[in-house]
C-alpha cells in the first residue's frame, strides 16, 4: 500500500548542500518545497561530544550506513563487481546536511580552463593531445557565466580567503579574511616562493571571524580545534547546510523537511516526472509525493542510481559510447610528498579542516604540457587539519608495520611529519562508468549502483609529475627525509582517498553527449533538475564543493524560471 500525498511545487531528494540550497532559494520565492532526507535530523547541539576520533573518524558515525545501501565495485568491465561492504575509499554522507556536516571546508572555484577543457586543449595542443578514449568535453557554460553563482555560494558560506595569484577573475573580495598563518603554512609559502611559485592561503569555510551571511544566518569563528573533517563543528564555525541554507529555508514557512525518508524511485510519464516514491525507514510505510519539479540532490551515486532505476534518460553504454546516464565517472588523483623532520616538532595536532596554503602553478594549464604526456594537473597544498593519533602513525619507508620499531618510530615522528598533497584532476575514460548491479540489492530491494573504475595512463602520468613537484617543495621546506608518494597500479576501494566523486549525470551543450543542460535541467525530462558533482564532465584540480554550490544556485535560478515559463531553459 502506497499512500499518495498532496502535490507540492518542489521535492528535493536528499537535504545536504545541494538540497539545502535549492530548498532555501525556492522557498524564499514562495514555492512549497518538501525535502526528503533518508537520514536523521542533526544540528550543532548534536556535536557537543564530537571530539571522539574513534567514533566519528574511524567508525564513521556521521556517514552512510552501508548495511542499508552501498555500491558494488570492480576495476574493469570483465571483473565481477562486489559490494563495498564497509566505507573506505570515500565517505558518503547520510543525515541532515549530508557530507556538508563533516566536510573540511576547503572551498575553491574550478578554473576557466575546466569549463572549456576540450576546446582550450585542442586549440593549444591540437586534437590528438589525449586519446579518443578520454571523453573530455566542455561543460556548456563558461567561468565568466559561473561568476555570479560562485560569488553567491561564497557569500552564503562566508569563505575566509585571499585570491590565488593565478586563479580566474574574481570581481569581489572573499567575505572574510584568510585564516591564521602558522609555522607550517608559512614554511610552505616561503619554500614555494623560493622555487618561484605563487602561494596563497587556502580558501576556507572554517571562518576566520564571526560572519552574518546575506540570508541573516550567523557562522561563528573557528577555534582550530583539530576535529574538523569527519566531524561536525560544535561551534557552528564550519559552514554547513545545517547552519545556513536549511534554517534559511525553514524560516520561510514554505519548507517541509521529512527525515528518515528514503526515496526509491522517480515516477514519470516518459517526458516529465510526476512524483517520487519513498519509504519511511522507521515504519516501512511507502509514500508517493507528487511535485511540479523534482530536484535530485542525493549526491553523485544516488543521483545516477535513481535515474537508472527509474528508467529516466538513456543509460551509458561503454561499448558503443552512446547514452549518458552513468557516463564520465571521475575521481581525484592524489599525489603528494611526506617530510620527516628530525630536529623539529610541529603543532600538527591543532588545526582546522581548511587551514592551509596552496599553489596553482601546476594546476590546469598554468604550465606548458607540450612535452608532457598528460593534460591538466592539480592544486598543491599543505594543510594543518589536526593529526589525530589513531589515524596518524607515519613511519619512514621500510619500517615494519608493527612491533618495537614501529612503535618507536610512529611515536617519534608523530609530531615530526608534514604532508603536502595535491587535488589532482581526473579525466573521464570510456571504461570508467556507473550502471546498475545485476546481483546485489539495497535494504529496500532496489539494485545497488555498480562502479567500474581504474586509474588510467593519464592519471598515472599526472600523478608522477605532480608528486615530484610536491617533493621539491617539501625538500625546500627543510625535511630531513622526503618520501614522494607513488601511484597505485590499480584503484583500491579500501583505503580512504577522497570523497570527491564526480560525473554520472554530466552537463553539456548537447543532449547526445550530456544528461543535463547548463541549468542542470534534464534534456529528457524538463521538470527534473539533477544537482551536484554528478554534473561535472570531468573532475578539476580542486575540491569540488565551491563549484557544486555555484551550480546549485544556477539550478535554483533555472527551477524558478521553469516554474514561471516551463519548457527547456536553453
Amino acid at each position: 500500500m502506497v499512500t499518495k500525498l498532496p502535490k507540492v511545487d518542489v521535492v528535493t531528494v536528499g537535504v545536504g548542500w545541494t538540497g539545502g540550497i535549492i530548498a532555501a532559494e525556492l522557498a524564499k520565492q514562495g514555492l512549497k518545497v518538501v525535502g526528503l532526507e533518508r537520514g536523521k535530523p542533526r544540528s550543532t547541539d548534536d556535536f557537543l561530544m564530537i571530539h571522539d576520533e574513534y567514533r566519528y573518524a574511524i567508525r564513521y558515525e556521521l556517514m552512510q550506513d552501508t548495511s542499508k545501501e552501498t555500491i558494488t565495485f570492480r576495476n574493469k568491465p570483465n571483473q565481477r563487481a562486489l559490494p563495498m561492504r564497509q566505507l573506505g575509499s570515500f565517505l558518503l554522507g547520510e543525515g541532515l546536511g549530508g557530507a556538508g556536516v563533516h566536510w573540511n571546508g576547503q572551498n575553491f572555484r574550478f578554473l576557466p580552463y575546466d569549463f572549456q577543457i576540450k576546446s582550450m586543449t585542442e586549440e593549444k595542443y591540437g586534437a590528438n593531445k589525449v586519446g579518443a578514449d578520454y571523453t573530455i568535453q566542455d561543460w556548456g557554460i563558461t567561468y565568466e557565466e559561473m561568476g555570479p553563482y560562485f560569488d553567491k555560494f561564497e557569500k552564503t558560506i562566508g569563505v575566509s580567503g585571499e585570491p590565488s595569484p593565478l586563479g580566474g577573475q574574481r570581481p569581489d573580495k572573499y567575505p572574510t579574511p584568510p585564516m591564521k598563518e602558522t609555522v607550517i603554512t608559512k614554511r610552505f609559502k616561503d619554500a614555494a616562493k623560493k622555487l618561484g611559485l605563487n602561494p596563497y592561503h587556502l580558501p576556507s569555510a572554517n571562518l576566520s571571524e564571526t560572519y552574518k551571511n546575506p540570508d541573516g544566518e550567523q557562522i561563528n569563528a573557528c577555534q582550530y580545534c583539530g576535529f574538523c573533517e569527519r566531524f561536525g563543528c560544535e561551534y557552528g564555525a564550519k559552514t554547513s547546510p545545517n547552519v545556513t541554507v536549511i534554517p534559511t529555508a525553514q524560516k520561510t514557512g514554505n519548507f517541509e523537511l521529512r527525515t528518515h525518508a528514503n526515496v526509491t524511485r522517480i515516477l514519470h510519464d516518459g517526458t516529465k516526472a510526476t512524483a517520487v516514491r519513498y519509504v519511511d525507514v522507521l515504519t516501512g510505510e511507502e509514500f508517493e509525493q507528487p511535485a511540479e519539479m523534482i530536484a535530485l540532490t542525493s549526491y553523485v551515486m544516488n543521483n545516477t542510481k535513481l535515474l537508472l532505476v527509474s528508467e529516466l534518460g538513456t543509460p551509458y553504454d561503454p561499448n558503443s559510447g552512446t547514452g549518458v546516464i552513468g557516463k564520465n565517472y571521475c575521481y581525484q588523483i592524489l599525489p603528494g610528498a611526506t617530510g620527516f623532520f628530525e630536529k623539529e616538532r610541529f603543532n600538527t595536532f591543532m588545526g582546522a579542516g581548511a587551514l592551509g596554503a596552496t599553489v596553482d602553478d601546476y594546476n590546469g594549464d598554468f604550465f606548458d604540457h607540450s612535452d608532457l604526456n598528460f593534460i591538466h594537473g592539480g592544486s598543491i597544498s599543505i594543510t594543518q587539519t589536526g593529526l589525530r593519533p589513531i589515524q596518524n602513525n607515519a613511519v619512514p619507508p621500510d619500517t615494519p608495520k608493527w612491533g618495537p620499531e614501529f612503535k618507536d618510530k610512529s611515536i617519534h615522528y608523530y609530531n615530526r611529519v608534514l604532508n603536502i598533497g595535491s587535488q589532482g584532476a581526473s579525466m573521464p575514460f570510456r571504461h570508467n562508468f556507473l550502471d546498475l548491479d545485476p546481483t546485489y540489492k539495497d535494504a529496500y530491494g532496489v539494485p545497488l549502483l555498480r562502479l567500474t573504475y581504474n586509474f588510467t595512463e593519464q592519471d598515472k602520468n599526472l600523478y608522477k609529475y605532480v608528486a615530484e613537484r610536491s617533493a621539491e617543495i617539501m625538500k625546500e621546506m627543510g625535511a630531513d627525509e622526503v618520501v614522494t608518494s607513488q601511484t597505485a597500479e590499480n584503484y583500491n576501494i579500501v583505503p580512504y582517498q577522497t570523497t570527491h566523486n564526480t560525473g554520472g549525470v554530466i552537463m553539456g551543450a548537447e543532449p547526445e553527449t550530456s544528461a543535463v543542460n547548463n541549468y542542470l535541467q534534464m534534456w529528457d525530462a524538463e521538470n527534473v533538475f539533477v544537482v551536484g558533482a554528478s554534473a561535472f564532465a570531468h573532475n578539476g584540480g580542486y575540491n569540488p564543493t565551491g563549484t557544486v554550490g555555484a551550480l546549485a544556485y544556477r539550478a535554483a535560478e533555472g527551477m524558478l524560471k521553469y516554474s514561471k515559463q516551463g519548457g527547456s531553459l536553453v
Partner: protein, 253 residues
Amino acid sequence: MAEEKPQTMSRRRFIRNTSLIAGGAAIGGGLLGALVGANLDDEQRTDPNKQTASQQAGGQNNNEALMYFTSREDFEVLSAAAERILPEDDHGPGAIALGVPYFIDHQLAGNYGYNTREYMQGPFYPGEETQGYQTPLRRNQVFDEGIRMMKELSQKNHQKAFNELEEAEQNEILSQFEQGKVQMRGVDSATFFNLLRSAVLEGAYADPMYGGNRNMEGWKMKNYPGHQASYLNQIEAEEFQEIEPQSLHAFHK
C-alpha cells in the same frame, strides 16, 4: 630515546577545563564563551566532593571484565598478540598496560563485532584485493577463528599455549598471519591480522572511555592533548606546545 616522560596524574599542571554541558543550550556567541572561557581552578579538581563515582572507587575499574570472550585463555592469547603489535618500551606502556585487550573485547561485543553498519548480504565471493572485505564472517567471528588458529599453531609448532611462547615465537606466528599464510575458515589470515593490528592502535589511542588508552597514557606517549576545546590562542605559536591531555570525561565531571 623518549625525550618527554609521560606525565602522571599527580604531576598534572594547570588544565584548561570547559563545561560544555553548562553552555550547551546556547548556540552562537553564548556557547562560544562557555566553550572557550570556562577554566576550572586546580582546587576544584582535587576536591574529593567534586570527584565522580569512578574516581572515588579506589582504583577499581569495573569496566575491566569480559563482555565478549567466554574463555580466559582466548583473552590471554589476544592480550599477548596485542602486546607484540604494540609492546611496552621506553616511550611507555604497551597494549596490555594500556587496557587494549579490554577495548577489543568490548568492541567485539557491540556494533563493531557484529558488523551492524556493514553490508552483509550475500552472495559472497573472495574478490580482488582492491575490492576489500568480502568474508561472510562478522568481525567477532574473524577474531574467534584467528585466535583458534593462533592456539592451534603454537601447540603444533611449540607444544605450548601462544601466551606462554617466547616473544620471537609469537612474532613468527603473527607474521604468518600477516602474510596470509595461515589457512583460516571463511577468511584470509591477512584480513584477520589487519583487523587485529588496527584494533590495537584504536585501543591504544581512542578516548579512554572505550576502555583502552588507560589514563591517557597512549596520548601522553605521542604528546597528544586529546580533547581540547580550542587552540585559538596557540595556533600561531612558534614553539611546540606541550599541553596536558584531557579526555571527553572532562565534560562529565
